[in-house]
Amino acid sequence: MQKIKDLFKKTWFLGCLVIIFATSVLWNIPIEKRKYGLSESSLVTDYTGLLPERVVRVVKAADRQELQKIAKQANESGQRISVAGLQHSQGGHTYYKDGVVLDMRTYNRILEINELQKTVRVEAGATWEDVQDAILPYGLALKVTQSQSIFTIGGSLSVNGHGRDIRFGPMAGTVKEMTLLTPTGEIKRLTSRGDSEEWMKYVLGGYGLFGVILDVTLELTDNDIYTIHTEKLKTEEYESYFNNLMKDDNAAMHYARVSVAPSSFLDEMYVIDYNHTGKQDRSTSLKGEQGVRLSKLALDLGRHGGGMEDLFWRAQKKYIASIDKKEITRNNAMRSESTFMEFTKPGRVEVLQEYFVPVHSYEEYIKDLKKLLSADDKNDDFKVHNITVRYAAKDNLTSLNYAKEDMLGLVVLIQHGLKEKEIAEATAIIRDWTDLTLKYDGTYYLPYYRYQTKEQFKASYPDWEKFRTEKLKRDSNEVFQNLFYDHYIK
């Protein structure tokens, strides 16, 4: 004891303590530092923070009776309600000026797992990660999710998300049953087979405008073990590669990445496939975020553009080649890292956009796209950092469907400045890009920031008028509102 006391009297010892502590803090400073989210005292924003707005109240969803009461009261008083999951949508989809926001994150219990029927019943505020945690011991996995598991079930179904799976169709198709709180405050139990009133058609991919999804029963599949196959391709080889892949029953999941580095801009791609091994898994734990600091450092280098972006692309290729032939479980293939994408620079923003084009148009589309974008955006304000390619199968289940036929989706990570001129320039480029996509019978994804014009929206979603009619029929007092609805549909 005396020795310890003496030690604390030594200047060198205290100096070492400071240095060791400071080093460990330095290493542990979290990467996620952005402020966004729900707040009653200040402005509410979503993932990009582009549309700050004041709301009157945020209600943490706890029980359905309370939610029902809020909906009924709002229906009588003219109060507006919005529904928020984890707010990764980027165009004010989760809040409305002076409205009430239902924060669904606290409504997140796993209600039932049926191992035999391979289903899970879960409350809508749970994340995919919560579900994965619960079903893993049963050897089960989700059929369709985004590439990350950080989103809520309700938020994902309300945008009808899609990811790496190429076999199970749209996410909406994996919903077997659903409990819905309707705009008039009714609680309805819906089944995919007996949905004669077509509630599901509008609620799924309905952006929280047709009521609150309370819980859903989702179809599951086995937690298969896959081998990863990676390959470098020329862009013009991709279409036939993809068509062959679809014919190969062994292939379960797939995505690709297109180069945005100046020296191989839109010319080079690499593909990542997940092929069946015939084995299944019950024991491998869910992987956490790995190598976040390193990936972030690499992405930060790429963000500089020019030679650095070439370097970043080379590093990605190396990494992708290194995972070739490795094994991974289905659950782990559905939970990629996301933290490394964090970007917080005052005066600038990083947004996502996604364009869908029919599979057969991919090659010509990319050729045309090359003329629209600058290969080296080092000195431009508008920068494209990443393009991932996904498959989105034809969707007949939702009203605002982005895949009228089998589509390839280009998920684009964009950075631009926040000065009026810079936003205007970004908007112009994104609108031109949308026009090009429309020329190829394509669409763009609606959960992201609304750079597009109302005309482009109408052209992309020809069913929008029916969507509005149904909205007004089922929610005649327009209780459920958000900034997305205000902008495009109202």
Binding site: T11, V18, V25, L26
Partner: protein, 167 residues
């Protein structure tokens, strides 16, 4: 009382009065409670280090307390004017916390050995009490403004004691 007695009073009163603004600023930088707490831990360890540095000094009279004031002043001025990306801020803040901690510990050790220490402590508590009531009526422009002003004041004190000493 001479300037020698006033300056430590200004420094101690100022530090306590500016503390709430500093906390608000620090809270904005840290975002998570853990990081906020770690920043404080870094400050405390460094203060212990600074305290011990003074205590282990052989010649306690020959110290450059003016430079300690100026050093603290510079840290507050940097805090007030810092304009860097949010990404880098926590790393810079950690460094500032360490410097501030060491200087603060050193100052405290020196101060407690001064003849007027007892009186200054009593006065400082009273003045801070009244000042805080007054400050509660001031609408915060931005915590950074107050912090920077205090930084300049500390630098002023440092230079004054330096000039007086040499003259």
């Amino acid at each position: 009382m001479s300037y020698k007695q006033y300056i430590p009073l200004v420094v101690t009163v100022g530090q306590v009065a500016i503390f709430p603004y500093y906390i608000i600023w620090l809270k904005g930088v840290s975002l998570t409670f853990s990081l906020f707490a770690w920043f404080f831990a870094a400050f405390s360890f460094s203060a212990a280090w600074g305290y011990q540095m003074y205590q282990s000094k052989k010649d306690k009279n020959n110290i450059h307390i003016s430079f300690i004031y100026i050093g603290m002043g510079i840290v507050y001025i940097i805090t007030g004017f810092i304009k860097t990306t949010f990404e880098n801020l926590p790393y810079i803040v950690l460094l500032l916390q360490i410097i501030l901690g060491v200087l603060q510990g050193y100052f405290r050790a020196w101060h407690s050995g001064q003849k007027a220490y007892y009186l200054q402590v009593v006065h400082h508590y009273l003045i801070v009490g009244f000042m805080m009531i007054g400050l509660s009526f001031v609408k915060v422009i931005s915590p950074a403004v107050f912090i920077a002003v205090f930084g300049f004041l500390l630098c002023g004190c440092g230079f004054l004691s330096l000039v007086k000493k040499t003259s």
